[in-house]
């Protein structure tokens, strides 16, 4: 499993409005969050949107499980968390999203990334080790490093539904 966008070594801060618009266009029923400093402008924008049902959860593994319950019940949720939270949620990712074959689209902020460097060259393990872990778990992922590539959100969301699996979108720079 590989990233499907090229590594350009430089990322840009994507405006919250761009991401918010792309999320709204997906037709999601619920947005499940465990707050992420990296995406704080996006979260601030989403909570103002009365068309979205937002739910803040205590932990990231819980978010993956609530996502599963919502989907089983007929809803179309989306999860927004932070990279270190995904590490904390690996058992739920495995035991629920993968083993129970639950569509699980996760937008994950690469919190702590040195944006002057490629992901592979970053020192923080929360940034550098995430993609290898996802590869080891056979979880598809996409890098979202430029506003022009925002369509990968739809690609990831639809792939999670089509293949009934978790799919991750990695937000490279703090949102603006």
């Amino acid at each position: 499993m590989t990233s499907e966008t090229d590594t350009k070594g430089i990322v840009e801060s994507i405006p919250a409005a761009v991401l918010h618009g792309a999320i709204s266009a997906l037709g999601v029923s619920h947005v499940l969050i465990v707050p992420d400093t990296h995406q704080k402008t996006l979260l601030a924008s989403l909570v103002q949107d009365s068309n979205l049902q937002m739910l803040t959860l205590s932990t990231e593994d819980e978010a993956i499980c609530v996502n599963a319950g919502l989907w089983i019940g007929g809803a179309e949720p989306l999860v927004i968390i932070q990279n270190v939270g995904l590490f904390a949620a690996i058992n739920a990712l495995r035991g629920v999203a993968i083993d129970m074959k639950v569509p699980t689209c996760l937008i994950v902020g690469q919190f702590g990334r040195d944006v002057s460097k490629r992901v592979e060259d970053n020192v923080p393990t929360g940034v550098r080790l995430l993609e290898p872990v996802l590869q080891a778990m056979e979880v598809p992922f996409y890098r979202l490093d430029f506003a022009a590539d925002v369509s990968v959100l739809r690609t990831a969301f639809e792939r999670s539904r089509a293949e009934r699996c978790p799919v991750v979108v990695l937000i490279g720079a703090p949102t603006s």
Partner: protein, 186 residues
């Protein structure tokens, strides 16, 4: 109170509600006929039952959702108590089988066994109702009234140790998530 007899009281009131079971309660639940229809087994991610049930409850607000948790299991996602309370899911009914041990791994005591009060924690987290029962007759008498009041509700079921090993029903659907979703939304 024995786990099997407590679950029998609960199964009799399931109706068209949706159940989420976990660990050693699963074989009993099938034996009582409360599964596999409108049911989800949580076997692959200890601690996940309450959050799985919360998602179903939010997506299916017209149906009662019954989560059958374990004490050791719930402690693995204890934060779910606040998420459930915060959601205000009025159709969420949380049953915790309290036997004070990790049964499947050889009856090691859970942390604070005999001290921890799950009903008090649920109430403190913000559940609308929270109870603890250790007498089957009292449970039988009180449960219909609990279901008639809005959740989130917690019922801690203090049960005796039970070392009878039961097998999981062969009738269990292989694709549990897909099976239940199909029942709920076609």
């Amino acid at each position: 109170m024995k786990r099997g007899e407590a679950l029998e009281v609960l199964a009799a009131l399931k109706g068209d509600g949706i159940s989420v079971g976990t660990m050693r309660a699963i074989p009993d639940w099938y034996e009582l006929g409360a599964a596999p229809e409108l049911n989800l087994d949580n076997r692959g991610c200890m601690g996940a039952a309450s959050a799985l049930g919360l998602g179903i409850a939010l997506a299916q607000p017209q149906r009662r959702v019954i989560v059958i948790d374990g004490d050791g299991s719930l402690m693995m996602q204890l934060g779910s108590l606040t998420s459930i309370a915060g959601s205000g899911a009025s159709n969420f009914y949380h049953f915790v089988v309290v036997n004070g041990v990790y049964e499947t791994s050889g009856f090691q005591p859970i942390p604070a066994a005999g001290i921890v009060d799950f009903a008090a924690m649920a109430k403190g987290a913000g559940y609308r109702q929270a109870y603890e029962f250790d007498d089957i007759a009292v449970l039988r008498e009180r449960l219909p009234g609990i279901f008639n009041q809005p959740g989130p509700a917690m019922v801690a079921l203090k049960v005796e140790l039970d070392d009878a090993r039961k097998e999981v029903s062969p009738d269990r659907p292989k694709d549990q998530a897909g099976y239940l979703r199909a029942q709920l939304v076609g």
